[in-house]
């Protein structure tokens, strides 16, 4: 029960009573609020820290955001070990337990519908990165059209070879794009086949990923627990096929279903 000077921070809503252990190094009191068969997992936070003023300051502090976001994730993971959960976005705050209960009352039916959909499923993430130089190096000796132009260049006059080189560069760019699309599309489609739902998220720039290669696919899948084995085998197959050719396939999970718990908000890719 939050007291004066404190706020109620909502992490997730679960379908059964969570066994809450205080998360390691969390200085906040963690508890659950039950209403109509739904369990909201919340932590008590200081108004000073999460209130309007404090938050403005803290959101600009990377270390603070990192710690709190990791805590948010850790708490949800702990709950989802024994229950189906709806994860909330970072920073959903209530003044009192009562106002949170009122929210549960208002959205209870929607939450229950979402939880029914999520039952016995896990979210998995797939990001694909491409190193264009490596991919290009791979193209050179496999693409017959490119090889043909190279031959022509050798036997051409200076003037003609200038234009042929230009043509070759264009062809390489086009082929690169095709290869990247092919890898992304094939991977997404094949994994979607094994999923209940799938979605494509926006690509993150290098400044964010801090990787040398480019992100070419950022996707998420909602997979039935019984299908996870097949899903992982497919990921391995894709890795075998694409890695070493300039691609890097990064699969992570299981995650709380962050990507699959909305209704109108989500653009669901599944037909």
């Amino acid at each position: 029960m939050a007291e004066n000077g404190q706020l109620v921070y909502l992490c997730c809503v679960a379908d059964s009573e969570p066994t809450i252990k205080q998360v390691e190094d969390s200085e906040h009191n963690l508890y659950s609020i039950c209403h109509n068969g739904l369990y909201a997992v919340v932590s008590e936070v200081e108004q000073q820290e999460f209130g309007e003023e404090g938050l403005k300051k803290n959101m600009a502090d990377f270390e603070w955001v990192k710690t709190k976001a990791s805590m948010h994730e850790k708490i949800i993971e702990q709950v989802m070990a024994n229950a189906d959960v709806i994860p909330f976005k970072f920073g959903t705050l209530f003044n009192t337990d009562e106002s949170l209960k009122a929210m549960l009352e208002q959205y209870g039916q929607e939450f229950k519908a979402i939880l029914r959909k999520l039952a016995h499923k896990q979210e998995w993430g797939l990001k694909i990165y491409c190193n264009p130089e490596k991919l290009k190096a791979n193209l050179g000796n496999s693409d017959s059209e490119i090889l043909k132009i190279e031959d022509e260049i050798k036997s051409s006059s200076v003037g003609k070879s200038y234009f042929l080189k230009k043509k070759k560069d264009e062809l390489i760019e086009k082929t690169l794009t095709e290869k990247i699309n092919e890898c992304g599309q094939e991977s997404f489609e094949l994994l979607k086949e094994l999923s209940f739902e799938a979605r494509i998220n926006k690509l993150l720039p290098q400044e964010v990923t801090e990787r040398e290669d480019d992100m070419v696919l950022n996707s998420a899948f909602l997979v039935d627990k019984g299908e996870v084995g097949d899903f992982q085998s497919m990921v391995d197959t894709l890795k075998m096929h694409y890695e070493g050719k300039g691609f890097f396939i990064d699969c992570t999970g299981p995650w709380p279903p962050y990507n699959f718990c909305g209704l109108s908000r989500e653009k669901v890719q599944n037909e």
Partner: protein, 65 residues
């Protein structure tokens, strides 16, 4: 308890932030941090959120598009 949720590999901070700050249900709490896509300012992995439009009282539907 920690190994109940066996991650397939070490999950980077990027993966966590990409989800926790950007996805998940958005609902009209008493206060909601507005972390819309455009508000995310990334400084290296030092993702920063920032454009401190922070607290915002959301009105209306549970799942704004």
């Amino acid at each position: 308890m920690n190994n109940v949720i066996a991650k397939s590999k070490d999950v980077t901070l990027l993966e966590i932030l990409d989800r926790v700050l950007d996805k998940g249900v958005v609902i009209a709490g008493d206060m909601v941090i507005s972390v819309a896509d455009v508000d995310l300012i990334y400084l290296g992995l030092k993702v920063l959120l920032s454009s401190v439009e922070t607290m915002e009282r959301l009105r209306g539907s549970a799942f704004p598009s």
